[in-house]
């Protein structure tokens, strides 16, 4: 998967068929609670629910904080669906949209370059993606992790106020399947 944010209004990830939907007020204090409401629909057999929950709360935090400016009058709408091997969410806020998306991509590329060259001093400059709107609590790390975690992509709509993410989990399987029945030591064909 490309290591960057994409803008594609036509992406299949925006198809809400069969997804649950919930709407939340943009209350910073309730972010963990909203996340729990969403994650409780995930099947119990799913692996690593902890990290899934953490990644979802980051996205909601972004919508509440950056999208809706912590304004409880504004809503965050979330569509979500889970399967044992699949997690898919669409998060929409009422804000002006992530207009600095391309800059973020460039910033991320430069950050990755620092990591590859192991230039940790330079990396310090890539801790937080600061724009006029962000403050000192914004570490920017959330998006770095998100781009890694959602292996089916992090896709924005044209307006950039709605983001769709998805991740596939490896399915547990037991042994490898054979094409035909092999002979047996106990059968006469040995």
């Amino acid at each position: 998967m490309p290591d960057q944010l994409i803008v594609d209004e036509q992406s299949t990830l925006f198809d809400t068929t069969g997804m649950f939907q919930k709407t939340f007020p943009s209350d910073f204090r309730q972010i963990r609670y909203f996340t729990l409401l969403i994650v409780q629909k995930a099947p119990a057999e799913m692996k690593e629910l902890n990290i899934l929950e953490q990644q979802i709360s980051e996205l909601i935090k972004n919508a509440v904080k950056h999208g809706n400016d912590n304004d409880p009058e504004k809503q965050v709408r979330v569509w979500f669906s889970f399967r044992e091997d699949w997690a898919h969410l669409i998060i929409q806020d009422e804000g002006p949209g992530f207009q600095k998306l391309e800059e973020w991509n460039r910033f991320n590329r430069e950050r990755n370059a620092c990591l590859e060259e192991r230039d940790f001093e330079k990396l310090e400059h890539y801790v937080s993606f600061e724009t006029e709107e962000s403050d000192e609590y914004d570490s920017g790390n959330a998006m770095f992790a998100a781009v890694e975690y959602w292996n089916q992509g992090v896709v924005f709509n044209e307006k950039r106020n709605t983001v769709a993410v998805a991740r596939t989990f490896p399915r547990k399987r037991y042994g490898l399947e054979l094409e035909e029945e092999p002979g047996s030591v106990f059968s006469s064909s040995s």
Binding site: Q54, L115, S128, Y137, S139, N141, A145
Partner: protein
């Protein structure tokens, strides 16, 4: 501010100070770490071992706080090690590709050994 469980305790092992963090290092709490370390730096403490064994949850703000203290301590020419990086904490640090950025040691014993060796 929402009340959420995060505890910071300090211990001493010789000249090394161990910062035991327990609970959730998230957007509500993470700043506490920065405050504690700031005070410790003012007191002139040189060797820090940040023990995240009992951290049950960490998000980007928590990572940001760890990066902040790491960089501040380093800039002052002092030493910081991160110990007991497991579970979700480990996964989040891996996702942000910061495993090599921090000085990670397996546990407290390894941390103290290293501090002593590099003294």
């Amino acid at each position: 501010m929402a009340f959420r469980n995060m505890d910071i305790r300090l211990r001493r092992a010789g000249s090394v100070y161990i910062v035991d963090i327990s609970g959730e290092m998230d957007l509500y709490n993470a700043h506490k770490l920065k405050e504690v370390v700031k005070k410790m730096l003012e007191k002139g403490i040189r060797d820090y071992v940040i023990n995240v064994d009992s951290v049950t949850y960490i998000d980007s703000t928590g990572i940001g706080a760890l990066m902040h203290v790491h960089s501040t301590i380093k800039k002052q020419g002092k030493r910081m090690l991160l110990a007991n990086v497991k579970g979700t904490v480990r996964q989040v640090i891996q996702l942000t590709k910061l495993m090599d950025y921090f000085d990670i040691v397996e546990d407290e014993t390894a941390a103290l050994r290293r501090m002593k060796a590099e003294a």
